[in-house]
């Protein structure tokens, strides 16, 4: 075992220290939740009674291990914080050597804390939320499986381990979306999510093949050393980066693979919080930040990243304004917030840390918002339409306050977390310089405004205004505050969403921490002064907020949405997800169906027809031939005579010839 040399991209070569001490326990991070899942799934009904406890304890234990590792890492020298643990040789075939190995470094440990921390809170929340569900044990098993997969994703020390985690995360997400699989919509949404993720996975898989084909290795240290050293050809590295991006788009619900994420809201709400807001969908951001040395080498790929980020910000915002389903609005807000993160990481070394910071802050406030929405849905007997809410603040004060804090964080109200992280991203976008910088900056700014609008709309329609439901009648609702297991996590997450931004961004804490992994970045030349920009952002956000207040607070909200004919074409388009599903259906599903039908016909008629045809020809021929067997002795005798004459004749001919 050689001691670590240097962990960082700045020197070109990337080295990871070997694991010892607390780090040799890092496999426990994955093993604990995995064991939890195994116990719950194999234990069957016997574990029904205490299943949720096992699941939560497994998550909590993993979080504790994460904390221990984090503090050990903090205690180490700044350049010595990347520790690699070799577990066993996974796929060794001559030149292709893939190990099951873990990498604990500044980037992965941040994710570990986010995943296990927020994960544990959501486990606790689910104890209350799923209390009456007969499948609660399975639910916790799947959540544990998800934690293990996600931890494998961020902890793997090579791209294939990441890929394994990547697909397993897709599986857990599939299992959890279809958790209520007796609902056809949930089953369909789960399949859709898996298919679209698989499209992204193809990109990631091909990227890995490119790495192996070019470098003969898929280990982070080898790939990044070669990339940072400029050893890989420009075309190849751009191809690798774009393929990685395809994978990232699939998992993070970015354009053009965003359509599955809103549908995924068919899963139970804690899942929306855990997977489809706080952790899994940010895997794409992780992938890009992790592959920083690759993306640093290719301007073209980074440009594509920022374009996708910018487009997705707008898509998410626009559609978010049109939906009335509270979870769908939050889902599209997730899509657009991840667009911000993509925009940030696409900006290169200036933006990686900002992207991660926004990711962490988003992890807190979006999880809080989703849990809050879950609390509301719970209270309103599974009603998700905001037009049937209103005035709920009186009935559920804790939810109102915690949700409100998350809401203030997402719209970027100072001094909440979103303010610090989003503001910085907008600033960096402008700092990119040139026309593209202005375009990106303005898109990001516009996005902030629209975010403020639709989030305010959501907040007001849910908690304020007149109640559009009643205590009496057939459809009576009795909103009530949720139990402590649910409000507790909400409060903790609210604290996180208040504090996270300042903690990470002010003074560049996170930037310094992550610098060895994603690279250093000095103070950029500002195109616009930060103060002006901050004020501008605030003004735009305030504009959006004011618009929403005017529209949804000062004027009454209809309990039923207006029909498509009565609203603007943009709203209609937004209500139809900007026709993304229509496009997918027209471009892939319908032609695919026809292709399949054609091939079934082709196989049956042409290919099997050829086979059957040969058989039929031979059969027909033999049918004719057997007619010569008349049953009359004389026929046979004649043919014998003929045969004899033929043979004798032939013999004579040969003799004579």
């Amino acid at each position: 075992m050689t001691p670590a040399v240097a962990a960082g991209a700045e020197g070109g070569a990337v080295h990871y220290a070997a694991a010892s001490g607390a780090f040799s326990l890092s496999w426990l991070l994955i093993a604990l939740p995995l064991a939890g899942a195994a116990v719950l799934l194999l234990g069957g009904k016997r574990t029904d009674k205490f299943g949720h406890v096992v699941g939560t304890v497994a998550a909590l234990a993993s979080f504790v291990v994460g904390l221990v590792i984090f503090f050990t890492l903090v205690g180490r020298d700044g350049s010595d914080r990347a520790v690699s643990q070799h577990l066993f040789s996974w796929i060794p075939v001559n030149g292709f050597q893939v190990d099951a190995g873990l990498l604990v470094d500044q980037l992965s440990v941040v994710f570990v804390l986010l995943i296990t921390g927020v994960g544990t809170l959501i486990h606790i929340y689910s104890i209350g939320y799923m209390a009456h569900d007969p499948g609660r044990r399975k639910f916790f098993a799947y959540m544990n499986l998800f934690l293990a997969s996600m931890l494998l994703l961020v902890l793997g020390n090579n791209f294939l381990a990441l890929y394994a985690g990547w697909e397993l995360v897709g599986l857990s997400s599939f299992l959890l979306i279809k958790f209520w699989e007796y609902k056809p919509a949930a089953a369909t949404a789960a399949n859709k999510a898996f298919y679209m993720n698989r499209v992204g996975d193809v990109g990631l898989a091909i990227a890995i093949m490119f790495m192996f084909g070019t470098l003969g290795s898929t280990n982070y240290d080898h790939v990044f050393t070669a990339a940072a050293g400029g050893a890989i050809g420009h075309g190849t590295i751009t191809a690798i980066a774009l393929l990685l991006l395809l994978g990232a788009c699939g998992k993070s619900g970015q354009f053009p693979l965003q359509a599955w994420l809103p549908d995924a809201m068919e899963g139970p709400t804690p899942i929306s919080a855990l997977i489809h807001a706080a952790t899994m969908v940010t895997a794409g951001v992780y992938l890009i930040a992790r592959s920083a040395p690759v993306f640093n080498e290719t301007q073209a790929a980074r440009t594509v990243v920022v374009i996708i980020g910018a487009v997705t910000i707008l898509i998410g915002c626009v559609i978010g304004c049109a939906y009335d389903d509270i979870k769908k609005v939050l889902a599209y807000s997730t899509v657009s917030q991840i667009g911000y993160m993509f925009l940030a990481v696409g900006l290169g070394p200036a933006g990686y840390a900002l992207g991660i910071a926004h990711l962490l802050a988003h992890g807190f406030f979006k999880a809080g918002l989703f849990l809050g929405s879950g609390s509301v849905i719970h209270a309103m007997d599974d009603e998700q339409d905001m037009r049937r809410y209103g005035g709920l603040w009186k009935y559920m004060k804790v939810t109102w306050v915690t949700f409100g804090l998350g809401y203030l964080a997402i719209i970027g109200c100072p001094p909440f977390s979103g303010f610090f992280t989003k503001d910085k991203i907008i600033e960096t976008a402008f700092d990119k310089g040139g026309t593209s910088g202005y375009i990106l900056g303005i898109v990001a700014l516009l996005g902030a405004g629209i975010t403020a609008f639709y989030m305010t709309r959501l907040f007001l329609m849910t908690f304020h205004g007149k109640a559009r439901w009643s205590h009496e009648g057939a459809d009576a609702k009795h909103p009530h505050e949720s139990p402590t297991t649910m409000t507790g996590p909400m409060i903790l997450l609210a604290i996180g969403s208040v504090a996270a931004g300042a903690l990470f961004v002010v003074g560049g804490t996170l930037q310094d921490w992550l610098a060895p992994v994603v690279g250093e970045h000095g103070e950029a030349d500002h195109v616009l002064s930060p103060t002006v920009l901050t004020l501008l952002t605030l003004v735009v956000s305030a504009g959006g907020l004011a618009g929403a207040v005017l529209r949804y607070q000062l004027r009454p909200v209809d309990a039923v949405a207006k029909p498509d004919a009565a609203v603007s074409p943009l709203t209609v388009a937004a209500r139809h997800d900007l026709y993304a599903n229509t496009f997918n259906e027209a471009a892939f599903m319908i032609p695919g169906n026809y292709l399949v039908r054609f091939l079934v016909w082709f196989d049956k008629i042409i290919i099997d027809g050829l086979v059957g045809g040969t058989a039929a020809t031979i059969g027909g021929l033999s049918g004719r031939l057997r007619r010569t067997q008349t049953g009359y002795v004389r026929t046979y005798a004649l043919s014998m005579l003929g045969g004899t004459i033929l043979v004798v004749g032939a013999l004579l001919l040969v003799r004579a010839g």
């Binding site: 075992m1 694991a19 070799h86 040789s89 996974w90 796929i91 060794p92 075939v93 001559n94 030149g95 292709f96 050597q97 190990d99 190995g101 890929y163 394994a164 990547w166 697909e167 397993l168 599986l171 599939f174 279809k178 699989e181 007796y182 609902k183 056809p184 949930a186 089953a187 789960a190 399949n191 898996f194 298919y195 698989r198 499209v199 193809v202 898989a205 091909i206 890995i208 093949m209 490119f210 192996f212 084909g213 070019t214 470098l215 003969g216 290795s217 280990n219 080898h222 790939v223 070669a226 050893a231 050809g233 292709l595 399949v596 039908r597 091939l599 079934v600 290919i607 086979v611 058989a615």
Partner: protein
């Protein structure tokens, strides 16, 4: 040197067993089942011991034995194991007890009696062991054809109970298709013998001796085609596949597992064992064609699987896609792809075997193979649905399960030689997700639409015992495939290097890459 004749022992047990079980009185059906189960378990233990005794890094055939059979023609009983055949024998031995236990009650509806069914199973096993163990081309041919007979009767006499006409049709189609290929192979085998008479002075069918010959390229091409078509039908590759869906749909469950799980592997095994080493130039010449057929098969099989309504036919078509991957790996000529292909043969036997088992259990409960007869089964039979999902996930090559390792090896190995082909083939994994999850969605999720499905029982203890070892292997081989890889890799590497194919070196090799395992 005194060695244990593992292969002969493995061959004799099922042969003797088949005769013994056939001779048991007709009423003693339970005894027949028990005897078969015990024998297959003994066989399994011995196969495991043989695999442990096998030394992966020793070149050439191990446990080799040779006795003259028809001396005048140079035919001998010679058996031997290399890394490829030993794992396939192991696969057959693992699946046998599973199949026996799964077919516990299945033979009762057949028209030839329970004892005959299990006797046929044992005979089939003997054929499977023999075909993998033979190192004499003639002996190989004999086993190759002999395997057909028990399978023919398994389909024809014990297949889908209510479909007399279709199952006879399927059985005859299977037999004729295979015989046609087999006869082409026989012609090529005789051709090979004639060449050996010219080249070596004395005719021989011995594989090792034949391998040393230098056949001129035109002759190679013809002989290659004779072998290749036989194997392409057996595997099957597009467009020789149409017997498989019929046979798969009409077979009894156990028969289908063995048919697709092991029997079809003879085809891909033959490609690697006979086509490439015996006719290296022809293999090079035909490689583009085979690769094209393989990639077509991947998509064709997947798309047709999506379009099926009969569950067993669907699973058969997914096999067509998987065989595409295996053939791709065999003919990419890199050690990664080749190792992946052999590993794929094992993994496919497990995952598709499990899929057939679960579908068979489901069909046995309701008597219909039509997808529309189900829906919402996850609520009624959660364990069955769970196992079904695991089998499906293995089939779509989810990391952490067995097939992923082999599929990725095939793809990455192909990529180093044929980039475009590998990229196209990788897109096939999206279709794999669709055919598996679409089937799962249609059968297992949603509300229970058919009233009679509400009373269907979940897996019984016997059925759980059947699937448990397969599921365990699927997970174990996904997480830690190294033991198998270590057995397969040397043989595959030698197969390719012997005919002059070496792995292409990475264009920008990173220093110290080969020592990545040495962290700790």
């Amino acid at each position: 040197m005194h060695t244990v004749p593992w292969l002969t022992i493995l061959l004799v047990i099922p042969v003797a067993g088949a005769i013994l079980v056939a001779l048991l009185p007709k009423r003693a059906s339970t005894l027949a089942k028990q005897v078969t189960l015990v024998l297959t378990l003994v066989e399994l233990v011995l196969a495991v011991l043989a695999t442990i005794a096998y030394e992966p890094d020793k070149p050439g055939f191990q446990f080799a034995q040779r006795y003259d059979w028809i001396k005048q023609f140079g035919v001998s009983y010679s058996v031997g194991a290399d890394g490829i055949s030993i794992v396939l024998i192991l696969l057959a031995s693992v699946l046998m007890p599973v199949v026996v236990l799964a077919s516990w009650h299945e033979a009762e509806e057949g028209k030839r009696g329970v004892g005959a069914f299990f006797s046929l199973l044992l005979a089939l096993q003997a054929g499977m062991v023999g075909v993998f163990a033979a190192t004499d081309v003639f002996l190989f041919y004999v086993f190759f054809e002999a395997m057909l007979i028990p399978m023919y009767f398994l389909i024809g006499s014990y297949g889908a109970p209510k479909e007399q006409t279709q199952r006879s049709y399927a059985a005859v189609k299977f037999l004729l298709y295979s015989l046609f290929g087999g006869l082409l192979m026989l012609a090529a085998v005789i051709g090979l013998y004639v060449v050996s008479v010219h080249q070596l002075g004395h005719g021989t069918f011995d594989f090792a001796a034949l391998r040393q010959m230098h056949i001129d390229e035109d002759t190679q091409k013809w002989l290659f085609l004779g072998f290749f078509i036989a194997f392409a039908i057996k595997a099957p590759l597009f467009p020789f596949h149409t017997w498989l869906p019929d046979a798969g749909a009409q077979s009894p469950t156990g028969g289908a597992v063995l048919l697709v799980g092991v029997l079809d592997k003879v085809g891909t095994f033959g490609l690697l064992r006979y086509c490439i080493p015996l006719f290296p130039d022809a293999a090079d010449y035909f490689a583009p064609l085979v690769l094209a057929l393989a990639v077509i098969g991947i998509f064709y099989g997947a798309l047709l699987a999506i379009g099926q309504r009969d569950m067993k036919r669907l699973v058969s078509y997914t096999s067509l896609a998987h065989f595409g991957f295996i053939a791709l790996g065999c003919f990419a000529f890199t050690s990664q792809a080749g190792t992946g292909a052999v590993l794929y043969m094992v993994n496919h036997g497990l995952s598709t075997g499990l899929l057939f088992l679960v579908v068979g259990f489901l069909v046995a409960r309701r008597g219909s193979r039509d997808v529309d007869a189900y829906g919402g089964m996850a609520k009624v039979t959660p364990v069955l649905a769970g196992v079904f999902l695991i089998a499906g996930l293995s089939s779509l090559a989810l990391p952490g399960l067995n097939s992923f390792v082999s599929e990725f090896l095939v793809l990455v190995g192909t990529f180093t030689e044929y980039k475009a082909l590998a990229i196209v083939a990788t897109c096939g994994i999206v279709l794999a997700a669709i055919y598996v999850l679409h089937l799962y969605k249609r059968t297992m999720t949603g509300p229970v639409v058919h009233e009679e499905n509400k009373l269907v029982a979940d897996l019984s203890l016997r059925e759980k015992l059947v699937v448990a070892p397969v599921v365990a292997l699927i997970v174990a081989l996904g997480v830690y495939p190294k033991p198998l890889i270590d057995i397969i890799r040397p043989t595959v590497t030698a197969t390719f290097t012997d005919v002059g194919h070496h792995d292409p070196a990475p264009s920008v090799p990173v220093a110290g890459v080969t020592t990545t395992g040495g962290h700790s």
